[in-house]
Assembly symmetry: C2
Homo-oligomer: 377 residues x 2
Amino acid sequence: MAITSFNPPKRTLLGPGPSDVPQRVLDAMARPTIGHLDPQFVIMMDEVKELLRYLFQTKNDITMAVSGPGMAGMEMCVVNLVEPGDKVIVCRNGVFGGRMISNVERCGGTAIVIDDEWGKPADLQKVEEAFKVHPDAKVLGFVHAETSTGVRSDAEALVKLAHQYGALTIVDAVTSLGGIPVLVDEWGIDAIYSGSQKCLSCTPGLSPVSFGPRAVEAIKNRKTQVQSWFLDLTLVMDYWGSGAKRAYHHTAPINSLYGLHESLVMIQEEGIENSWKRHHENHLKLKDALEPLGLNFFVDEAYRLPQLNAMVIPEGVNDGQVRSRLLQDYSLEIGGGLGPGAGKLWRIGLMGHSSRQENIDLVSKALQEVLSDIKVG
Amino acid sequence: MAITSFNPPKRTLLGPGPSDVPQRVLDAMARPTIGHLDPQFVIMMDEVKELLRYLFQTKNDITMAVSGPGMAGMEMCVVNLVEPGDKVIVCRNGVFGGRMISNVERCGGTAIVIDDEWGKPADLQKVEEAFKVHPDAKVLGFVHAETSTGVRSDAEALVKLAHQYGALTIVDAVTSLGGIPVLVDEWGIDAIYSGSQKCLSCTPGLSPVSFGPRAVEAIKNRKTQVQSWFLDLTLVMDYWGSGAKRAYHHTAPINSLYGLHESLVMIQEEGIENSWKRHHENHLKLKDALEPLGLNFFVDEAYRLPQLNAMVIPEGVNDGQVRSRLLQDYSLEIGGGLGPGAGKLWRIGLMGHSSRQENIDLVSKALQEVLSDIKVG
């Protein structure tokens, strides 16, 4: 055998995530491990909750980080809110809506699927029609920022609509949190999940979540047990509870939480509004740099995500060839397309710490050189 | 707000986990994050699989690390192998068997519970009687090394018995892997899960698992969909598959896997047999150091775990007071009891990197001083 230590190359990460992780966050992860019941660690967990409340712009008590990636966060929201027989309206305009449908069905729920074209946002009118046909729908689930296409749906309006019909909302904010406004309390979002490795600039593996009072009430009124022990919110919350109420559930990923804590402190230092502003401004700069190269946006300006730029691959250009060259010659990662977008789209993330002038310069220079090489060649 | 960076104290971790994490592993975690689809990362994932096969002493193709703590590994084993209506015999002689029962029931399975006294191993005769009454039981689940009591059950004999009755086996090896022999192929274990933060000396948050051919066959023959999307083995394995077969499922916890990789390289360097030997020898040294202080083992010598030493708290000694003193004055963590053991047991872990002479010296000196202080005081 004789496998030796792994020394990863230094990359610039401008794909759909993970994004570049600042040295401060990496350094935090390397601090000495302490016990997960250590009083000092409990203080840190409380601070993570407090910082996540700031990120989510919420006062929700039940705000914390699931000990798993964003997909575990999605599953936590679904398994706690959906019981067998429940109707859930799910908007699908990309890969992640499709995953929510699968989650709902695996809980024994009935998914009422609202399909929208990839590259378009969730259609409010179709959602309203679905509510009219299914006024008993318990939950509306949708993806705020669709990572597979770079589309922003109107979360505020969708939540408002769901509430008019007495439904709860589950919002996928994996790619939106930290990059564009996510106003949990102002919009009235009931359950929301995100990921650590996008606009939060932390390493992957943790999923911030928040549950509002209506969601908590629904969980209290469940008729059946939550099908997942690991993701049962009542058990997990006892673990994240403060002080004496704290009950052992699992062993928290100590050092990953050090990293998340540090990345949240950094966003607090910058100010969340400034983070949104930086993502927006750098998006415009990227636009100004890429459009002259003949690269066009896949998504209409009105619902384009500043942090995830889906660009149409020019006719005759080989996706794999370009991305391999970027990786090999520039140590630069951009994302390919997912599903129907495979081979047709590049996804250029300017998320969190990756959203910087030097990265815009690098990716536009590298693409210019590689594309002109290919045309010449 | 103004929450600042978290600087954890330096502890010596001699509790039930996490154990001390070597600087090499911490340094590995702080290496630059790369993409989870980066060719270099895929090579590293393949190496992690290879190293885990060595740890588990198996050739099982399906051997990898779940992107969540040990409890996620338990749930992965149960949700993939247990379908509604399936009978599962579960041995409970501590906290973790109880959790397996809950997992089985949440899958719609029927748990046939074999209770044994806390501090005793799973009773083979009772298990055989259960199989006689329930010859249609599909699975036998048990905990190899019960973290709540420090007891080793006879995994080899239990697996043999289950196979005589045509049942599969799910083995909890969270605390055993790396500390005592876990011979997956030789014993014929069908599904097994562990945790990164015990005898592997990595930080918490990952759960090594391995599935043998009979388990894979059972999963292929399922009549129902696995109820968890995040833990659906078929989907997860496509993600951990080699080369072109690799399909996106979730974003792996990149830097945590750097840490696991490094900790596995370190065990490979030491040699797994030497690791078992070190745990055994240091256990005997701890025994020689603690018994003269009037501290007695809770568990009979025949099935005592070398890596987790449950000691009876002497009459009249206040558990919380002693552990607080150890933490404050010696920055030393030992574990309290769980469940019925609370206030009655100390759990002293000598797991992985924590299993060292200097730690035996520290804990025995510290306990001697604190206990004699209390007697004087």
